[in-house]
């Protein structure tokens, strides 16, 4: 059923359609509306059987999900930002134990300075945690990815994060097509765990593993992620058949097949980029966009195929590796190994700074006219003056000094 609905409400409804048996939740903006809506569904009996746990921290939330999943229940939680860091240890544990937990990440910046707005620093910080990471470009895709995520997680026995931009998607009202319970039930069979804590057949889960087998267990996780590259495509195909729209998959291409310059990005900014692409295409400029829906496992071959003809690739990402540069950019370079493609690393949208169509057009203008230094890290819409002033100042807390300069109109 198509309705005008808030992203969080839509995702909560989609999660409920997947019949989770245990939901653990600890509130953090901008994830709150999702877990609040799920609480309503459980309390009113519209989602049952389901146990809703209001735990004491994100670490507790993931730990309870681990226990629930190991006991054979379909388990779900949601978090963002500091919360994902607080549960980091448990994230590695969940993936190492092969537990198919599904978690929404309402992407938000990581402090300090504390900031509640959107970027991808949170999920990117856990890119090596062994979790599959899917990024939604729209609320419709967020809904569809959640339904696929449970299927995927249980198919490969790995946990899956569905990342959706905080506020930009979670709090946005958009028309969303919510499937029926019958449709989801037909697509997502009940969870059949490959290992379960049961007195009838006792197993030990989580044994200590020394040098003789540790590497093999870890490599197994890697192999399963590589297998997921195929499974993700199969599930997206089945989803399209069952629900009548295509969603998910590894990468999404937008007017990029013949494009000379291609912008690569993740998440909701793709909408803005695609608008900019349309505008430039109208002017006869050969540009396109490639969205990365699945960031882990890294769809190396698909991305190479999508980009190998391009002369220039602009990776526009909402996080960066301090002391190095682009994160997605490095991964893209790996996919373009041996090709003469010029790759530009551009970081933007940090801490909620809007990436507008105008700034994307400005950026692409710089790229097309070769004004960006090859190999340099570019920060979109950054006020270098503020940075420079603070570098010259010998004292005081950085964030407060910069805010004072900003208020005083200094550059």
């Amino acid at each position: 059923m198509r309705s005008q609905i808030e992203g969080s409400q839509a995702v909560a409804a989609a999660v409920a359609l997947c019949r989770p048996e245990v939901i653990s939740a600890y509130p953090i903006s901008p994830q709150t509306h999702i877990v609040e809506a799920l609480s309503d569904l459980v309390r009113t009996g519209r989602l049952e059987p389901c146990e809703y746990l209001m735990v004491e921290s994100e670490f507790g939330a993931m730990s309870a999900a681990i226990g629930a999943s190991a006991a054979g229940a379909r388990a779900y939680t949601a978090t963002a930002s500091q919360g994902i860091l607080y549960m980091a240890e448990a994230l590695y544990n969940a993936s190492g134990l092969g537990l198919p937990i599904v978690m929404t990440v309402a992407n938000r910046a990581i402090g300090s300075p504390i900031n509640i707005w959107n970027d991808h620093s949170d999920a990117m910080s856990q890119r090596d945690s062994g979790w599959i990471q899917l990024y939604a470009a729209s609320n419709q895709e967020a809904v569809d990815l959640h339904i696929q995520a449970f299927r995927l997680a249980e198919a490969v026995s790995l946990p899956v994060m569905v990342c959706m931009d905080g506020f930009v998607l979670t709090h946005a009202f958009e028309p969303v097509d919510l499937p029926t319970q019958e449709q989801v039930d037909a697509f997502l069979p009940p969870f059949e765990p490959r290992q379960v804590l049961d007195p009838a057949a006792p197993v030990t889960i989580g044994a200590m593993v020394g040098p003789e087998a540790f590497a093999e267990v870890k490599v197994l996780m890697h192999v399963k992620q590589m297998q997921a590259l195929d499974v993700i495509g199969e599930i997206a195909g089945e989803f399209a058949q069952a629900f009548g729209r295509s969603s998910g998959g590894l990468v999404r291409q937008y007017r990029s097949a013949d494009a000379d310059t291609v912008v690569v990005a993740l998440g909701s900014v793709l909408g803005t980029i695609e608008d900019a692409v349309d505008e430039l295409r109208d002017d006869g400029v050969s540009v396109g966009a490639v969205g990365i829906t699945c960031f882990r496992p890294w769809p190396l071959a698909e991305l190479r195929a999508a980009l190998d003809h391009a002369r220039r690739v602009v990776v526009l990402e909402k996080a960066f590796a301090v002391g190095l540069g682009g994160i997605v950019g490095q991964n893209v370079r790996l996919a373009l190994e041996g090709l003469p493609t010029r790759v530009h690393d551009v970081v933007g949208g940090l801490g909620g700074r809007p990436i507008t169509r105008a700034s994307v057009l400005r950026l692409l203008g710089d790229v097309l006219e070769d004004r960006l230094e090859p190999g340099a890290l570019t920060f979109l819409d950054l006020d270098w003056g503020l940075v420079q002033r603070e570098l010259e100042r010998p004292f005081g807390p950085h964030a407060e000094n910069i805010l004072r300069d900003l208020a005083a109109g200094l550059r």
């Binding site: 048996e21 245990v22 653990s24 059987p49 389901c50 146990e51 746990l53 209001m54 735990v55 004491e56 921290s57 670490f59 507790g60 939330a61 730990s63 309870a64 999900a65 681990i66 226990g67 629930a68 999943s69 190991a70 006991a71 054979g72 229940a73 388990a75 240890e89 448990a90 544990n93 134990l97 804590l197 049961d198 007195p199 057949a201 006792p202 197993v203 030990t204 889960i205 989580g206 044994a207 200590m208 593993v209 020394g210 087998a213």
Partner: protein
């Protein structure tokens, strides 16, 4: 097994002699059908109190539930010595996740069982004092306040033994550990620090809180059995001497646990929804010196010149426990 005042004790120890009891009054451990949940072959040190405690507790829990127990275990000695891959000493469903999350993992298991309608299967979370009182304390308190259907058992050996005997918030004053060495003006662990986990558990007003030691098997098993009769959050704090960390003879594990009780240093009690309902009376009060002397972690308090002032402060702490919990048996107790 009913709990009655048994008048037959082993000479010198006051431990109940099983052979003098009717078969149905004997401990679970004394029965041929005990489940040996933590079976032989594990790698615990000789005389490990935690290995004894865990087997006693879980065998009793298995008997109380008809073998319907799932265990969530914190990282620590118990986890390491029982599950060196590919071996496992556990003869019941068991999961180890992390150091600080055993109570939350247990909560998740209990929630899954409830959602699946398997209410006959019960959940026990367990860990050492570091995993319980320090790194796992937030998860433990959360599990308590939500009144999740979990029995959490802390095996308290009063320091981080698995990592090489470092101080925890359960380490007693003056005790030598690897980072509270008997050097400087205040040798050993300082006074006035640490926390009393059973009393903090009590303050959550959960259905059941109890302390016990590996020295009194009847009492320990009774408390497990009582805990398994109840639902909601329950906490059992078991003192388990560690020969390695305490610098004590392996053969003294039970003796030291008993002395911890008889000196008043470790009050044994049980509580119902925040109210203490029973205390184990001290039948033969022992001075703390009797407990401290056999342990090398307190060796710096003795010899020449020794620290009689510190021993006195420890004695004062024991005396305070005795007053606070009414631990001394008087004539009326004996006549009951």
């Amino acid at each position: 097994m009913s709990r009655q005042k048994i008048k037959l004790y082993q000479v010198g120890s006051f431990a109940v002699g099983n052979r003098l009891l009717d078969a149905d009054e004997r401990t679970v451990q004394a029965r041929s059908e005990r489940s040996n949940t933590l079976t032989s072959g594990h790698r615990a040190c000789q005389g490990c109190g935690e290995a004894l405690g865990a087997r006693y507790v879980l065998d009793a829990a298995m008997r109380a539930t008809g073998d319907q127990v799932i265990v969530a275990n914190a990282t620590g000695c118990l986890e390491v010595f029982s599950t060196p891959y590919p071996e496992s000493s556990w003869q019941l469903p068991w999961i180890h996740s992390l150091f600080g999350n055993a109570p939350a993992v247990a909560t998740g298991i209990a929630a899954a069982l409830k959602a699946k309608g398997r209410t006959g299967v019960r959940v026990v979370g367990q860990g050492g004092d570091g995993g319980t009182l320090d790194i796992g304390f937030a998860c433990l308190s959360g599990m308590f306040e939500r009144d999740d259907d979990v029995l959490y058992v802390c095996y308290d050996n009063e320091a981080y033994m698995n990592t090489g005997v470092q101080r925890s918030s359960a380490t007693p004053p003056a005790a030598r550990t690897a980072n509270t060495k008997p050097v400087g003006f205040e040798p050993g662990n300082v006074f006035g620090q640490g926390k009393n986990a059973p009393l903090i558990a009590l303050a959550h007003e959960i259905p059941y809180v109890a302390t016990a030691t590996v020295a009194d098997l009847h009492d320990l098993e009774h408390k497990v059995e009582r805990a398994m009769e109840l639902h909601g959050a329950r906490y059992l704090h078991v003192l388990v001497p560690c020969p390695l960390g305490w610098g004590a003879a392996s053969c003294d594990t039970i003796r030291l646990a008993r002395l911890a009780v008889e000196t008043g240093l470790f009050p044994v009690f049980e509580a119902d929804h925040g109210e203490v309902t029973a205390v184990s009376k001290i039948r033969r009060q022992a001075p703390v010196v009797e407990y401290l002397r056999p342990q090398r972690r307190f060796a710096h308090l003795f010899g020449e010149p020794g620290r009689p002032d510190v021993v006195e402060r420890i004695q004062a702490g024991a005396d305070r426990n005795i007053r606070r919990f009414g631990l001394l048996a008087d004539e009326t107790d004996e006549e009951e």
